[in-house]
């Protein structure tokens, strides 16, 4: 009796357990997603214009392009504005003011007028007194490409003046996917929203090789990824767009030499004739592998640095020397291997190259077929350089450096303004 009861009980338990187990046979998955996003801070265009003035100096944080005019250095703070640095004494530069220009990436200076982009607009600023600059004119909508990523265009009556970094964690069932968009079209989820980062002669200023703006005589030339704009500065306070020329693809930099403009693009180098300054004419182009490529020229040779990685394409990291004596038929002279070359500058026979984490390299370029490395200044991640008057102004990840190369055997640091990350 007891044995029968035990078997019955066991059978009952087994069946109950199997039925119970069947209900529990399933896969479940919970997903926890932690991410960073950037939320825009808006101001009206009127408020933004009112704030284009010499505000108190700010610390350097995320610097971009540089421009030099006389004793002043103008240093872009990406998408925020321009630092004004009094460089009367290169050994002790003074950060004296900050001009708030949201969306600013590029600039150029002629005489007492500074021209800067402000998202899609061009703003002309009187810098006669760097401590009291005045906005003179805003030319609306001439850089239509400067919208904010992925097709998002900010409210036309407002401008993004800042981005606030926020962290978010969302937990949900895996099959429900990511609900990270929160109904907002104007927030960024990955890298910080940012845009890609000025030589000419006085009385216009001198820019680095990464510039997209340059001034030749009475014309400002600006490039976006496809177009070359010629903007008349005959009336310095009233810039007027003259031509918008389809110049090529993936254009990144512009560099003037005499009556020519050298445009660096990811796929090559374009040369434009500006004998007629209002209407640049395409002269020739030199095709190279896809890469990021600032370009400079001394009239006989063009120096192009190619950089691979991130958004730059797969080409090798190298310096190309191109013979441009025949502008209709530029030809490659020699290729030099580099580590991660960015901006470059040439002063006489000296060629300065920012080679990323390798620092600043100084070459004797008297023989372009045999560049001779004179010195490497390492310990900094360099981005752009302007070399003139025996002083090399170097923008690096951690600061703005100035080196004297008056004595090539003893290139020495004059000063450094630290960038606060």
């Amino acid at each position: 009796m007891n044995k029968k009861l035990t078997v019955e009980m066991l059978s009952f338990l087994l069946i109950t357990m199997m039925l119970g187990m069947t209900a529990c046979v399933k896969n479940t998955c919970k997903q926890k997603h932690t991410y960073t996003y950037f939320e825009p801070v808006y101001k009206t265009k009127t408020e933004v214009k009112a704030n284009i003035k010499s505000n108190p100096a700010r610390q350097l944080e995320n610097t971009g392009k540089i421009y030099i005019l006389g004793n002043f250095i103008f240093l872009n703070e990406i998408d925020k504005g321009i630092h004004v640095i009094d460089n009367t004494n290169p050994s002790a530069p003074k950060n004296i003011a900050f001009i708030d220009i949201p969306g600013n990436v590029d600039m150029a200076v002629k005489g007492n007028m500074l021209y800067a982009d402000m998202y899609t607009d061009l703003v002309a600023i009187d810098i006669t007194d760097p401590n009291n600059v005045k906005e003179k004119k805003v030319v609306d909508g001439i850089f239509p490409e400067r919208y904010w990523g992925g097709g998002f265009v900010a409210n036309r009556n407002a401008m993004v003046v800042d981005w606030v970094k926020k962290e978010m964690t969302v937990t949900e069932n895996c099959e429900e996917g990511d609900a990270v968009f929160n109904g907002r079209a104007d927030i960024f989820y990955s890298a910080a929203p940012s845009n890609s980062a000025g030589a000419a002669k006085s009385p216009v200023g001198v820019g680095g090789s990464m510039a997209r703006f340059t001034i030749v005589n009475d014309y400002l030339y600006a490039v976006n990824s496809h177009d070359l704009l010629s903007i008349s500065l005959v009336n310095a306070a009233d810039p007027v767009v003259k031509e918008d020329i389809a110049a090529g693809f993936d254009i990144q930099t512009i560099y003037p030499f005499e009556d020519y403009l050298f445009l660096g693009s990811m796929g090559g180098m374009y040369i434009f004739d500006i004998s007629n300054p209002a209407k640049p004419v395409a002269k020739s182009n030199f095709v190279h592998a896809t890469a990021c490529d600032p370009v400079i020229s001394d009239g006989e040779y063009a120096y192009v640095t190619l950089r691979k990685g991130t958004n730059c394409g797969p080409a090798a990291d190298e310096l190309l020397v191109i013979d441009v004596r025949d502008l209709l038929s530029p030809s490659l002279v020699k290729t030099y291997s580099m580590t991660s070359p960015h901006g470059l500058s040439k002063d006489g026979d000296l060629l300065f190259i920012c080679d990323g984490k390798d620092g600043l390299k100084t070459y004797d370029a008297s023989d372009v077929r045999n560049l001779r490395l004179i010195k490497t200044i390492d310990g900094m991640e360099t981005y752009d350089v302007i070399a003139m008057n025996k002083v090399a102004l170097v923008v690096a990840k951690d600061g703005l450096y100035q080196y004297s190369y008056a004595d090539l055997a003893n290139i020495r640091l004059l000063s450094k303004i630290t960038i606060n990350k």
């Binding site: 035990t6 066991l10 338990l13 087994l14 357990m17 199997m18 119970g20 187990m21 069947t22 529990c24 046979v25 399933k26 896969n27 479940t28 998955c29 919970k30 997903q31 926890k32 997603h33 932690t34 991410y35 960073t36 996003y37 950037f38 944080e61 995320n62 610097t63 971009g64 990406i78 970094k165 962290e167 895996c174 989820y189 990955s190 890298a191 910080a192 940012s194 845009n195 890609s196 980062a197 691979k308 990685g309 991130t310 958004n311 960015h342 990323g356 991640e381 981005y383 923008v395 690096a396 990840k397 960038i419 990350k421």
Partner: protein, 193 residues
């Protein structure tokens, strides 16, 4: 944690310690192969355990290799209790920890992706039947329910898009917590007293 492990391991012997009948404890090793089946189909499972049999109770530790969905190595306590006079029918429970399999790091020009699997709770419990196949060996069939948990963490470190670049976002993290409920059937070979 260690203390709990020891308590769990010897818990069955506490239950039998008060029995009057004097029985000698003996070592027993168990090798198992079987299948676990769930919503994603069936996958093989292998287990090895060893421990002490005392009276109708067996308590030991073991390790397994579970191929359901994500490979893992469960580390468990193995408790078994024989039923009836001959103890041919037995119930078992194997609570433990599911040790994850792989760790990878993929670096590209674009970004670095780090993946890690993290462990979780493991439990296998059920009922079985033994068939003696010699003095010191027996085969057993068993069926039970397995609960297997673990987490899969993916970290995407995005690069700086432009140079110079500051204010990079913190790495983007995904943590997926999986819980699987499975039915398992196994064939074991038990060796020892």
């Amino acid at each position: 944690m260690k203390r709990w492990g020891i308590i769990l391991l010897f818990l069955p012997f506490c239950l039998v310690a008060q029995q009057k009948k004097t029985v000698k404890p003996g070592w027993r090793s168990i090798a198992t192969a079987g299948f676990s089946a769930g919503e994603s189909g069936a996958s093989p499972v292998f287990q090895l355990s060893g421990g002490i049999r005392y009276s109708r109770f067996f308590s030991g530790i073991g390790i397994g290799y579970d191929l359901y969905e994500f490979n893992s190595f469960p580390l468990f306590a193995d408790w078994r209790m024989g039923l009836g006079k001959q103890q041919l029918v037995f119930v078992y429970a194997m609570p433990g920890y599911n040790i994850p399999g792989k760790f990878t790091k993929e670096v590209s020009d674009f970004r670095t992706v780090t993946e890690r699997q993290m462990g979780g709770f493991y439990m296998d419990a059920g009922i079985g039947y033994r068939i003696p196949s010699g003095i010191l060996s027996r085969l057993s069939f068993s069926a039970g329910y397995v609960r297997k948990s673990f987490a899969h963490k993916k970290i995407f470190a995005n690069p700086c898009g432009t140079v110079p670049c500051t204010d990079l976002p913190a790495p983007e993290k995904y943590v997926y917590r999986y819980n699987y409920g499975l039915i398992t059937t196994k064939l074991s070979w038990e060796l020892g007293k």
